[in-house]
């Protein structure tokens, strides 16, 4: 038992090292913008760069749209499938697994080939970006909503509400959504974490988003990218922390992602 | 020296005492049940015999060999778990043969023993099935065969039937007992179901809150409970507060009505409060026995082979069982009625 425990600690220690060393290195590097002294100069530079706020807000906007479209698309459909069309479920699952089969870079290639003629309108490019993000976030949205609905016995709840005289909008809005709150928030934060720094789609669709801005900084500056990496890490951490906090005591919180 | 001896076993989990002062001698071939509510320490005791838990103090000897701290895989004890615990990746035959395989037995010998075991549990044709293809009852039979295949010196069963349906439970219960008799294997059986314990065991250990309440044959446990706990846990006794009128003559009052008990009460002054236990099946509505109590019928519950009638005296509610038969005439609810019972039907509980 003592031997087992030694090895357990050993692997955990190795994991901690792997996890924190790059972060520490990045943080230390980000403080070196001023010669011979540690300072937050790199962070100041970043925050003072108007491009930073611009691109960040743009990505935030895209994230909000993605979440809204995702929720509107996924919740009623999954609810309906649970309630009336259980036979469709495998197909739903197949669709939501597509982002694992079609990598982001291939997806965006296809989107460009199909919709490029419409990109003369700016908003169209953005709409396609949001659509692409919705596709990327489908697995997480679907899984958290599906798990949430499974946990609450949709059929009985719906039938109970119907027998009490509730209409469909009332049922969705007053009964299903409130019960899905945790699942939806988890899905939303995960989507946020994915979309904010997303590079592949934004860059290849030539959108002024945060991810391409990061890459650009990486090519032109030395210390600012490190500061940006620390900041995006903090952001990911905050989103994940919120998910953990929301899902505490609940099994099946999905944190699996795949947009690298 | 008895075959299995548990001497002064005590088990603590942190500051919680799970088992204390546990002493038991089990003879070779005996079937002993540990009976009690969940959390009473019966499973912990069983797990100490199996070696999954180590006693804080005390000693376990099996067949004269001290085994208190022996590793579980060196004890040669068969165990059947409540949740079957069949290995899901192996066939039925693979499961049953597992113990022999890890002991390094020859393939031919394993095959023969597995076939023999399958025969014993009546699943001769299902050797190549996987556990997920079996019903709960079949899975538990396989678990039993797996435990027996290694020819253990002791068989431990941890609530083996509690995950099963009532009907299968009954069949498997009888089967376990018949297999145990056939093999003559010493068996410890943990259960919270008094009916199982009473019907299966040579002896029963009733446990509560980590302590042994009473050890005895099913007959003794049922008819002569020594503590209030045993009386209330085993059977459906009426437990009634009474006032002593004349201790030496066994005269007490229940709700102001006087009855006489066969056994006198020693060392209790007249006027003191005692607790009297009355078995529902010892009470009757027809005239029999020397004691009588008058009350009103409050409710009647039809339980199949018996009819349970609830009768209210003043404060006290008594239940009374009549055997069901087509000619039974039941009193109306609310009707005044008289209960009769013999002197021996009442027990004084400490």
């Amino acid at each position: 038992m003592r031997v087992t425990r030694f090895w357990s600690w050993f692997w955990i220690a190795l994991g901690v090292l792997y996890f924190f060393l790059p972060l520490y290195a990045t943080f230390q590097f980000s403080l070196k913008a001023q010669r011979d002294t540690l300072s937050f100069l790199a962070y100041q530079n970043v925050l003072n760069d108007p491009k930073f706020a611009e691109t960040f807000l743009f990505s935030l906007q895209m994230a909000v749209w993605t979440i809204l479209v995702g929720v509107v698309l996924v919740v009623p459909t999954v609810y309906w499938v649970h309630l009336r069309l259980p036979a469709v479920r495998p197909y739903m699952e197949l669709v939501t697994l597509m982002p694992f089969v079609i990598p982001a870079v291939v997806l965006v290639f296809g989107l460009i080939r199909t919709y490029a003629p419409l990109f003369t309108w700016t908003w169209m490019g953005r709409a396609v970006l949001v659509a692409g993000y919705v596709v990327l976030s489908l697995p997480y949205m679907y899984r958290s909503v599906d798990a949430g609905l499974r946990a609450m016995d949709v059929r009985s709840l719906t039938e109970a509400a119907q027998s009490l005289g509730a209409s469909w909008p009332t049922i969705l809005w007053r009964i299903i959504l409130p019960n899905l709150r945790t699942a939806l928030l988890s899905g939303a934060f995960l989507t946020l974490a994915i979309v904010i720094g997303e590079f592949t789609l934004a860059s290849l669709l030539a959108q002024p988003a945060f991810g391409p801005y990061l890459a650009l900084m990486g090519q032109n500056r030395a210390y600012e990218p490190a500061a940006l990496a620390i900041m995006s890490f903090a952001l990911t951490w905050a989103a994940m922390g919120l998910i953990q906090w929301l899902g505490r005591g609940r099994p099946g919180g999905s944190q699996l992602s795949g947009t690298h | 020296m008895a075959f299995l001896e548990l001497n002064n076993i005590r088990k603590e989990f942190g500051r919680f005492v799970a088992v204390e002062a546990f002493n038991l001698q089990v003879e070779r071939g005996e079937f002993v049940s540990f009976l009690g509510p969940s959390g009473c320490g019966k499973t912990t005791t069983l797990r100490m015999i199996a070696g999954f838990e180590l006693p804080t103090t005390g000693q376990i000897t099996i067949d004269g060999q001290e085994m208190t701290y022996t590793r579980p895989n060196a004890r040669n004890i068969g165990m059947v778990f409540q949740s079957y615990a069949l290995f899901p990746n192996m066939t039925v035959a693979g499961n049953i043969g597992f113990g022999l395989k890890v002991a390094g037995k020859a393939a031919a010998e394993i095959k023969e023993r597995v076939a023999e075991m399958l025969q014993l549990i009546g699943l001769a044709d299902l050797g190549e099935r996987y556990p997920y293809q079996l019903s709960g009852g079949q899975q538990q039979r396989v678990a039993l065969a797996r435990a027996l295949a290694i020819r253990p010196q002791l068989l431990l069963l941890d609530e083996p039937l509690s995950a099963l349906d009532a009907k299968i439970r009954m069949n498997l219960r009888n089967e376990i007992r018949s297999i145990q008799r056939q093999l003559g294997i010493t068996t410890i059986y943990v259960t919270h179901d008094q009916e199982e314990a009473l019907s299966l065991s040579d002896r029963i250990v009733v446990m509560s809150a980590g302590r042994m309440e009473q050890v005895g044959s099913p007959f003794e446990i049922y008819n002569f409970p020594q503590t209030r706990f045993v009386a209330s846990f085993v059977g459906t006794l009426n437990i009634v507060p009474a006032t002593v009128v004349n201790g030496a003559r066994g005269e007490v009052q229940i709700d102001g009505q006087q009855i006489t008990l066969a056994a006198g009460i020693d060392g209790v002054p007249n006027g003191a409060q005692v607790t009297v236990a009355l078995r529902p099946e010892a009470l009757s509505l027809s005239e029999s026995g020397a004691n009588r109590l008058v009350g009103h019928v409050e409710n009647i519950a039809f339980l199949g082979s018996i009819v349970r009638i609830y009768i209210r005296l003043d404060e006290t509610l008594l239940s009374l069982d009549e055997f069901n038969n087509p000619h039974l005439t039941l009193p109306a609810i609310g009707a005044a009625t008289t209960i009769y019972f013999p002197l021996e039907a009442g027990l004084i509980l400490p």
């Binding site: 459909t77 290639f109 890490f233 | 579980p72 068969g78 290995f87």
Partner: protein, 316 residues
Amino acid sequence: MLLYIVLLWCFVTTKDLMAQLTAVGPSQQPMAAARFWRWLGVIPFFLFAIAFIFWPSANLFLGAFRTSDGAFTVEHLVELGQPFILEAYWLSIRISFVTALGGGIFGFLLAYAAILGGLPRFVRTALMTFSGVASNFAGVPLAFAFIATLGRVGLITVLLRDLFGFQLYQYGFNLYGFWGLSITYMYFQFPLMVLIIAPALDGLRREWREAAENLGANSWQYWRYVALPILLPTLLGAMILLFGNAFGAYATAYGLTGGSLNLVPLLIGQQVRGDVLHNPGLGYALALGMVVVMTITLIGYTWLQRRSSRWLRQAN
């Protein structure tokens, strides 16, 4: 005579058919309407899926078989045989394999240590949170972090040089090469493994271990015959998922190498940008090849998943 029989048969069958149609028709109509309405509920979702997943993908794949003026061709697929493209696939596959295996094993050991290794409970909670974060911390920022760690003036590179006089880069290490990329990918691979494998480790029931011990098995035998076979489908399935995860990774590779390394996703990216030798047909073929590899991995994953869930169906 024969003609007569044939005619009769035709008459009987048509009459039968007519009877069926007339009998079934009216009563079926409200049913059909209800069915239509029922399907309406899922139509928006599937329309979206067609518009933004299936149609664009099909478009790409058709493009792989078309010349610029629309005629059918397999030329683009043949072009995949060029040495530098084969090398790109080979490098992508190697990196994905190494990081799937390495990340898989390391992630498994970590999860095992935290869940079954007898460590305090908080270790497990912490590990799961960290894994959630790290598996999502990828792309460009991750590349920055590793440049600051293992780049030419990265923390570890400098430490090794100053403390031990060890010149990492003189011994063939290059953050922008195979091993550098692999180490970086591992950062999101092993946490993903932890997240996937943790539920499976939780599913290893205490009773199985006890039953095995009780039947005389030692620890090794328990692992060899019980635990490992039970975990194996999940383990392999998870590694397949990791493989696909690394195979499709674009942002991290781009952030690290600026798009210069010969990896399949980067090649596709180049085709999209029109940077180099613009040949859309080849790009479509590259994408097709990538999706084929990903599809194979997913099918493997599903097959293994089904197998383990079948075993565990009644056990839980």
